[in-house]
Each structure stands twice: as structure tokens, then as C-alpha cells.
């Protein structure tokens, strides 16, 4: 086997694509954590829900409608969760919150089984993204490029919102120091609500985007949960920078590990996680020093 330039180009794109998918998932989770100090383990289940919403919507109204409405649907579910559970759990310790969201995983998993059955579903990508685009002599699937572009777009948008807008400043203040944020007259409850719903919406978006690429199964939420947690822990909790760095590290290690070190591919990422935590016990770019 003689891997040439086009081979490495393709693998780099594969790594980027995986990174961007993980970024969409992890950014919501990490900002929610930074702001509200709790890990929403049900984030993966919301991602699965996004994929199922998208699968149903796509079969009735087409892919683009699904891509637009599925994240909104998941955001609405997020609102209900916030009002019904999360808000009441704000004052409880992190263990209680972990448990509640763990319970939510069970509930959401079985609900998807009840509504959509155990059989895997799939969506076909829209015709415009079905073909391949030539990049440096490599015919790369247009849909995967779309994921890369979408991920980068969302990253740029979030970076802008965080650095340039008032709500971004509030979020940064909140992540830095919630007491101070409350003193500054920020309506913390409203801020949490918005961030939580947007985070859920992003998880739904990731699910909708992943659906044409992967198969839609009830277990997909649980499968993606661990990679997402690894991403945010390697990156450091609470920061956009950490989410993108963690996603890129995960994507590249996973992709090139599979190619270069196939024998240890399955433990490579765990070994990396352990190594990062050994050297930097709070990840690479935590929001707080």
C-alpha cells in the first residue's frame, strides 16, 4: 500500500469532519457546564432525539426543513426539561444533577424506542449535497464538506456572539464568576434558560446533521456521549476554545490512530485522555484558571 498525498488529504478531511460533528455536540455541553456547573449527561440523548426528529421530518418535508426544524424541536424539549427539572435542580449538588440527567437518558432512550421502534432509520442527503467535490485531486463527499463548513460557521458565529454582543459578555461574566454576574444586574435565570435551550438546539442540530451520515438508532445517544465528554474534558470545561481544541484533537487522533496504529485504535483516545488529565488535571483550556 502506498499512501500518497490524496490519501492524507482525504484523511485530514475525515478528521476535520468528525471534529466538527463533535464540536457541534460539545460546545453546548461545555458552555452549559461553564455557566451552570453541571454536566448534562442527557446531552447525547438530545442528539439522538434531533436525529429522530430529522428522520421523521425529512421523510415528510425534505432534508432542509428537517435540518431547520429538528434543532428547534430539540430546543423546545430543552425548554420543557429546563422548566420541569433542571431549574429545580439548580441548587442541588452536582451529584444530584448527574443522576437526574442519567435518569433522563433511560427515559429518552426508551421513549425513542416506543415512538420510532428498534429498527435503524436513515435519511438520504439532499441531491445538491449527494455528489462529490474535487479537493486537491480528491473526490470528497459534498455532504461531509457541508458538515465541516457548518461546524466552522457555527464556531465563527459563537465566537462572534461571545466576544462582540451583550449576551456574549454576560455569558463570559457568568462563566467567570456567577456572583459577580448577578451583582452586575444580569438576569441569571434568563441567561441560563437561553444558554440551556441553545445548547440543546445545537445538540439537536448535530443529530440532524449526523443522521444522513450515520444510521439513526436508539443507542446512538449513548454511543456519542463518551466521545463528547472526552472532548470537553480534554479541552477544558466551559470554554469555546476548549471545545474546538478538544474536538480537533479527538477527530485527528481517532482518524489517524485508525490509519497509523490500527492495533491500539480503540484505546488510543482513552490513553490520550488519561495523559492529558495527568499533566493538566483540568484540561487544556479551562474557562477558569
Amino acid at each position: 500500500m502506498t499512501p500518497d498525498l490524496s490519501f492524507w488529504t482525504m484523511q485530514t478531511l475525515n478528521a476535520l469532519q468528525l471534529s466538527m460533528l463533535l464540536f457541534l455536540l460539545s460546545v453546548g455541553l461545555t458552555v452549559i457546564f461553564g455557566l451552570m456547573h453541571f454536566v448534562n449527561l442527557a446531552h447525547g440523548a438530545l442528539y439522538a432525539l434531533g436525529a429522530y426528529f430529522a428522520a421523521t421530518l425529512a421523510s415528510h418535508a425534505g432534508f432542509w426543513v428537517a435540518l431547520l426544524l429538528a434543532p428547534l424541536g430539540v430546543a423546545v424539549v430543552g425548554m420543557a426539561l429546563y422548566g420541569g427539572l433542571i431549574q429545580r435542580m439548580r441548587k442541588s449538588g452536582p451529584m444530584a444533577q448527574v443522576l437526574v440527567t442519567f435518569g433522563l437518558i433511560f427515559v429518552l432512550l426508551d421513549l425513542t424506542r416506543i415512538f420510532w421502534g428498534d429498527l435503524a432509520l436513515a435519511i438520504t442527503p439532499p441531491a445538491i449535497l449527494a455528489g462529490r467535490v474535487d479537493i486537491l485531486g480528491v473526490g470528497y463527499p459534498a455532504y461531509r464538506l457541508f458538515i465541516i463548513a457548518l461546524g466552522l460557521g457555527i464556531f465563527a458565529a459563537l465566537a462572534l456572539i461571545l466576544s462582540r454582543t451583550q449576551i456574549g459578555a454576560m455569558i463570559r461574566a457568568g462563566v467567570d464568576n456567577d456572583d459577580m454576574a448577578a451583582c452586575m444586574g444580569i438576569n441569571v435565570e434568563r441567561l441560563f434558560f437561553i444558554v440551556f435551550c441553545v445548547g440543546c438546539g445545537l445538540a439537536g442540530l448535530a443529530g440532524a446533521v449526523a443522521a444522513p451520515l450515520l444510521s439513526v438508532t436508539p443507542g446512538m445517544g449513548l454511543e456519542i456521549l463518551i466521545p463528547t465528554l472526552i472532548v470537553i474534558v480534554i479541552g477544558g470545561l466551559g470554554s469555546l476554545k476548549g471545545a474546538i481544541a478538544g474536538s480537533l484533537i479527538y477527530g485527528f487522533v481517532q482518524t489517524f490512530g485508525a490509519v497509523l496504529l490500527p492495533g491500539v485504535a480503540s484505546i488510543l483516545i482513552y490513553a490520550l485522555l488519561a495523559a492529558v488529565l495527568l499533566l493538566k488535571p483540568v484540561g487544556l483550556f479551562p474557562a477558569k484558571g
Binding site: M1, Q11, Q17, R132, I224, A258, A265
Partner: protein, 394 residues
């Protein structure tokens, strides 16, 4: 110590068996995953099994009592459930087992307790090889059996250089191994092999790129379930079909998933022991009945359940209702079913059945269907170290 266990179990088994024989009732323990990743397989096998009983057990004169237990995909749990069915519920025969891990876990128990087990899916070669048992009869397939004929067939078709990919677990290794062995024997060359971490791989892109770079003529893969859908969709999106046609074990394009793959699966050639489009009267009847009761086409899992029920009924018709006689009778069943002519290999207790090579093609109203390219003759597995007494014939 094992001897005492066996003796104790045998004693208990005899008492329970005697009781059930008196009642002219056969207790069937259905051991399938009803939750977890294999729930859809468990459900389809059960549907097929119940349909089979409905079709074949008229005027049987013996009541068949089904007790279901959920094995999940958990060997330990599967064994606990098997024990419960035998020790507490007095099951005369066990039917089911989807995952090879669960089969491996309960093997010693059913062998020791001398309870007949009809395997309705799990395909690990050892179960009808070095770890075979006169009490375990497999009506489904063995991993090697499904794939070896494909190796020879592809070589016959003039394919010379193949790259293989498979899920990295025991079944995946055996499926691809069966193919590789036969393909190389028939003069083919394996130019490279990739193994993807089982149930941890969502993105096959890196592996597909490696396969592509290998310069092989064709790609042979084993994937099942959600991985099969992701794999076929991703294979298609990379435009691999133009450079490296896809062959595989038939689970890749099982009827259960093929509609989720859609057009991506068009042109994929695979081999399996059953296709819903198999052209024989038994299959036509089965497919019609299955569609009428479930509302969709059956897959190989449905037919495995259906044939398991038929084998059980055939065994009971020989007058067997207790564990010992059922085990003996099950080893000797043979019939024409939806898959064609089936019989049990007396040397291993594995089913002997024809293998279909089929191409997945677009059918009417957008649904995918199977075009049978060849029906390869029935073949028995090599004994693989299986030693057991021949069945008692009368």
C-alpha cells in the same frame, strides 16, 4: 466437582421432564434480546417463531407453552435467564440466542443440564465445532458457512485482489475469516485487511480511504445492524462504487436495514442463507403470512425463528416431548423451507442449507429488493474438532 453439578442437574432435569411429559405439554423457553441493541432481531425472531407454530402445530395434540426471557446483549444475564427457564420454569426446550457471547455463556449449562437448545441466530463456529453438544442444534447458520461459498464464487467470477473490512469482534473475525480462507484457497489474493473497533466506529471514512489506497479490485466486508447502514451509506458517498465494487456477508444488506440504506445499497453483492425473494412455494407462503401479520417483509431473522418453530414441531411429531427425546429428534429433522432444503449435520448439529448470492437492486416504488445471482449448493461445515455420539435412529 463438575460431575456432582452435572449429576444434580440431571436429577432435577429428569424430575421436571417427567412432570411435563405427563401433561402432554412442551414448555418452550424463548431466550432472546428484547431490549438493547439487538432488540429488533429478538422481536423478529419471536414473530417468525410464533408464525411457524401457528402454521405447523395444528392437530399436533401437544400444547406448546412459551415462556419468554430477555437476555439483553449480556452473556451473564443470558445465562441467568437460561438457568431460570430450566431450573424454575421447567422448560423442556430452549429456543433463541442472538449473540454468540450469550451462546458461549450458556453452552456448558445446557450441555450439563441436558436440555435441548435450538439456536435461532448466534453463528459462532465453535458452537457446532469444538464446543458442540448433542443438545445444541443450530437452525440458523454458522459464521464460516455463510461466507465460504462467497469466497469461491468471487474467485470463479474472476475477482483476484480483494481488501477486507470487518467489525473487530469474534463474529466479525470469523465471517471475514471464512471468506478469506475460501477465497485464497480458490486462488484469490487478500491485499489488505482493516478491522474497525466494534460498536465504537461511527465514521468509516478513514478505513474506506485506506481500502481505496490499497488498489484492490474489490472490497469484501462484514457489518451488521446500525454499522451496516452507516457503512453502506458512507461507502456510497465516497463514490467507492466506481473504483471498488462492494461484496460482503449478506447481513450487510439484510432486508431489515436495506430500506434505510436505500439507493446506496444498489449493486452491492452479498451472500446469505436467506433472501425474501427466494423463489420457492414455501417462501412465497411464508413471506405472505409474515407480511400479513407484521406488515413488512421478513429478513433472515424472521425465517430463522420460523424454521426453529417448524423443527420443534417436526421433532414433537416423532413423539418426543421430553428433553432427551426432543434433543435426539431435533438432530434428525429435515424439511423444505423458505430457504430451500434444510437438514441437520449429524456430525456437528449445524444446519445444512443452500447459500444465496444476491445483488441488492432498486425495486418497485423506491424499495430495495434482492436479485438472486446464484444459489450455491448446500454445504456442511467441517467438524472443527466436534466429537459427539451420533443421534439415535429408530
Amino acid at each position: 466437582m463438575r460431575k456432582t453439578l452435572t449429576a444434580a442437574l440431571t436429577g432435577l432435569a429428569t424430575i421436571l421432564a417427567a412432570q411435563s411429559a405427563l401433561a402432554e405439554r412442551v414448555n418452550v423457553g424463548l431466550l432472546l434480546p428484547f431490549s438493547g441493541v439487538y432488540a429488533s432481531l429478538g422481536n423478529e425472531i419471536e414473530a417468525g417463531f410464533r408464525l411457524g407454530l401457528e402454521h405447523f402445530s395444528d392437530d399436533l395434540g401437544v400444547e406448546i407453552n412459551i415462556i419468554r426471557e430477555d437476555t439483553e446483549v449480556n452473556p451473564a444475564n443470558g445465562l441467568a435467564r437460561a438457568r431460570k427457564l430450566v431450573m424454575q420454569d421447567g422448560a423442556d426446550v430452549l429456543v433463541g440466542i442472538v449473540s454468540s457471547g450469550v451462546l458461549g455463556a450458556i453452552r456448558d449449562f445446557v450441555h450439563g443440564a441436558q436440555v435441548p437448545l435450538i439456536v435461532a441466530n448466534a453463528g459462532n463456529d465453535e458452537a457446532t465445532g469444538e464446543r458442540c453438544s448433542p443438545y445444541i442444534t443450530r437452525l440458523s447458520f454458522s459464521n464460516g458457512q455463510v461466507n465460504r461459498p462467497m469466497g469461491r464464487w468471487m474467485a470463479e467470477q474472476g475477482v483476484r485482489r480483494v481488501y477486507t473490512l470487518g467489525a473487530d469482534y469474534a463474529a466479525g473475525r470469523q465471517m471475514v475469516g471464512g471468506f478469506t480462507e475460501a477465497f485464497v484457497e480458490a486462488g484469490g489474493e487478500i491485499v489488505g485487511q482493516g478491522w474497525t473497533p466494534f460498536q465504537q466506529t461511527q465514521d468509516f471514512g478513514p478505513y474506506l480511504a485506506q481500502a481505496r489506497a490499497s488498489g484492490a479490485e474489490a472490497l469484501f466486508v462484514f457489518y451488521a445492524g446500525g454499522e451496516a447502514i452507516s457503512f453502506v451509506n458512507q461507502y456510497d458517498s465516497f463514490g467507492m462504487a466506481e473504483v471498488m465494487p462492494l461484496y460482503g456477508s449478506g447481513f450487510l444488506t439484510s432486508q431489515l436495514y436495506v430500506n434505510a440504506q436505500g439507493e446506496s445499497a444498489n449493486g452491492v453483492i452479498t451472500s446469505l442463507h436467506y433472501v425474501p425473494t427466494a423463489d420457492n412455494p414455501e417462501n412465497t407462503a411464508f413471506v405472505e403470512a409474515f407480511q400479513a401479520s407484521i406488515g413488512r417483509l421478513p429478513s433472515e431473522y424472521g425465517v430463522q425463528g420460523y424454521d426453529s418453530a417448524r423443527a420443534l414441531v417436526e421433532a414433537i411429531r416423532t413423539g418426543a416431548t421430553d428433553r432427551e427425546s426432543l434433543a435426539n429428534a431435533l438432530r434428525q429433522v429435515s424439511f423444505e423451507g423458505p430457504r430451500g432444503a434444510l437438514s441437520i449435520d449429524p456430525a456437528t448439529n449445524n444446519v445444512i442449507q443452500p447459500i444465496f448470492v444476491y445483488e441488492t437492486v432498486s425495486g418497485e416504488n423506491g424499495a430495495m429488493t434482492q436479485k438472486v445471482l446464484a444459489t450455491l449448493p448446500a454445504e456442511a461445515d467441517p467438524a472443527n474438532g466436534c466429537v459427539m455420539p451420533a443421534p439415535v435412529t429408530n
